[in-house]
Amino acid sequence: MSNGTTSESGRILAVTSGKGGVGKTFVSANLAAALAARGERVLVLDADLGLANLDVVLNLFPKVTLHDVLTGKATLEQAILPAPGGFSALLAGSGLVEYSRLTPQVRDQLSEIILQLVPRFDRILLDTGAGISDVVLHAVSLADEVLVVVTPEPTSMTDAYATIKVLATLQKRRHVRLVVNQVSAAGEGRTIRNQLQLVVDRFVAPQLKAEGDSVPLVLELLGEIPIDPAVREAVGKRALLLVTMPGAPAATALTAAAARLAG
C-alpha cells in the first residue's frame, strides 16, 4: 500500500467527500498537477460520470469523451486529453448523466476502462461524485486508496464521517486519507482528523469488531489546505492554482500533500 509508484503498475486513488462543494474536484486537479510536477504520469478520471465539474475546473470542453468510449463511438486514446498542469484527463461528458443509474453494463465497462488505463499511468485519480450514490461507491471500490476531502464545517464533517463509515463497513477499508480544505488556522486539519478518528474508534470500530474484524480503521491526514484568496482567483479564472500561482499558500500545501502521497 505504501511504497511509491512504479512504471508497470498504476496506483488508483479515489477522491471523494460526503458533502458536495468542499473542493473535491479542486483538490483532485491540483493534486494531479503537483504529482505531475514530481515526474509522475497522472490521469484524472471524471468518475462522477458527467455530474462532476472537472471540465469546468480544467476549462476543457472536449468533443470526445468517456461517453463516446462507452458507446463505442471513439477509442480510449481519443478521449484522453492533455490537461493544463501536465497530466491527462478523461472527462465523462454530460451525455453520461443518464448513467447516474449504474447498470451492470456501465459498471463492467468502467472497470474495464480503468484496467486498460492502469499500465499507462503511474497514478490514476478518480474524481467521484459527492454523496454516497451507487456510482460513487463503485468508483471507490475500483481504487487502491481513498482520499476524503473535508472542510471544517460541521455538515462537511458529518458527511465525511458517514462516508468513512460506509467505506469501512461496505468496502472493508481500513486506511482512509484525509485532506482538510479551507482551514483557517494551522493545525485545524490535525484537530479534525483526530476528532473523526475519535468517533470512528468509538462507534465504527466496535461494530467492525462485532463482525469479527479487529483490524483498526486508521485515518491519515494527507494535508491541510489553508483558506487562500488565490484559490478563489484561480477558480474564477478557470485556471489551475498550481499552474498560475504555485507559490500561494494553498498551492504549497497541495504540493506538500502530493509529496506525502508519493511517499
Binding site: A130, I132, S133, V166, T191, Q195
Partner: protein
C-alpha cells in the same frame, strides 16, 4: 382560471362547470350550497373537490399514483434537507391473478379494497399509502429509522396474511403480500424514480425468495446518529475551534 367578477349569471354557467359538477356528484363528493357560502368559497370547494378526486384511486379510495409521486418528490426534498431516514415500501398481492381467474374480477376488486383498508389501518397519520397500479401498493414512511422498518413491514405482512376476505355470500379468500423497501438516499442525486426502483428491486427479491415476505434494502450505514454527532462536535477543543 380567473375568479368570476361581478356577474348576475350563475357561475356554473359562466365557467361551464357542468362536467366538473357532474363528476363530483357521481363520486359522491359533497359540495356546499352556493347561496350559503358565496361565490369564491363555493368555487374553492369545487376546485378542492376536483383535486381530491384526481388524487384518489376510485376503487380503493387510497391515494393514486399521481398523488404518490407528488408526495414522494416532497419527501425527497425533505430528506435532503433534514437527513431523516425515510422508507418507501412497495407492496404486491401474491398470485392476485389466481383470485381473478378463480373467482372473477368483482372478487379481485373486493380483495383490493380489503387489502387497501388494512394497509391504511397499519400506518401513522403522517404516512402515505397509495395504490401504485394493479395489485401493487406503495407507502411512504417519513422519519422511519431502519430499526423500526422491519417491524412495520412484518406487521403489515402478518395483518394481511391473517385476514379473511369475504368475496361473495359464504365465500372467502385469503391472500398474502410481498413487500420491498428502500431507505431514502440521504444526499445528492436522489430522485423519486430511483427510490421507487430500489424498493421495487427488493420487492422482486421478496417474490423470488418465495413471496409472503418482506425484503428491505440494507439500511443506510451512512446514517449518523445524534450520539455520533454529539461526539464529533462535543469536545471542548472543537467547540473552541468553531467559535
Amino acid at each position: 382560471m380567473p375568479p368570476p367578477t361581478d356577474s348576475t349569471k350563475s357561475d356554473s354557467q359562466a365557467l361551464n362547470l357542468d362536467a366538473a359538477l357532474q363528476l363530483l356528484e357521481q363520486s359522491g363528493h359533497p359540495l356546499p350550497r352556493l347561496r350559503d357560502t358565496g361565490k369564491a368559497a363555493w368555487l374553492q370547494a369545487v376546485i378542492d373537490g376536483l383535486c381530491e378526486l384526481s388524487s384518489r384511486d376510485p376503487l380503493t379510495g387510497l391515494a393514486n399514483r399521481r398523488h404518490f409521486e407528488l408526495m414522494l418528490a416532497g419527501e425527497v426534498d425533505r430528506v435532503a434537507r433534514a437527513g431523516e431516514p425515510a422508507l418507501v415500501l412497495m407492496i404486491d398481492i401474491d398470485h392476485f391473478k389466481k383470485v381473478n381467474d378463480a373467482h372473477g374480477h368483482p372478487a379481485g376488486d373486493e380483495v383490493l379494497k380489503h387489502v387497501a383498508h388494512t394497509l391504511s389501518d397499519c400506518i401513522r397519520p403522517m404516512d402515505t399509502v397509495a395504490r401504485f397500479g394493479g395489485e401493487e401498493f406503495a407507502m411512504i414512511l417519513p422519519n422511519c429509522p431502519p430499526s423500526f422498518a422491519h417491524a412495520v413491514a412484518e406487521r403489515i405482512r402478518i395483518r394481511i396474511q391473517s385476514m379473511t376476505i369475504p368475496i361473495a355470500a359464504g365465500e372467502t379468500v385469503r391472500v398474502t403480500v410481498s413487500l420491498g423497501g428502500a431507505f431514502a438516499p440521504q444526499w445528492v442525486r436522489s430522485s423519486p424514480l430511483l427510490w421507487v426502483e430500489r424498493a421495487d428491486q427488493q420487492l422482486y427479491r421478496a417474490k423470488a425468495e418465495g413471496r409472503d415476505r418482506a425484503c428491505l434494502e440494507q439500511p443506510a450505514v451512512s446514517f449518523v446518529s445524534p450520539e455520533e454527532k454529539g461526539l464529533l462536535f462535543g469536545t471542548s477543543q472543537f467547540q473552541d475551534l468553531l467559535s
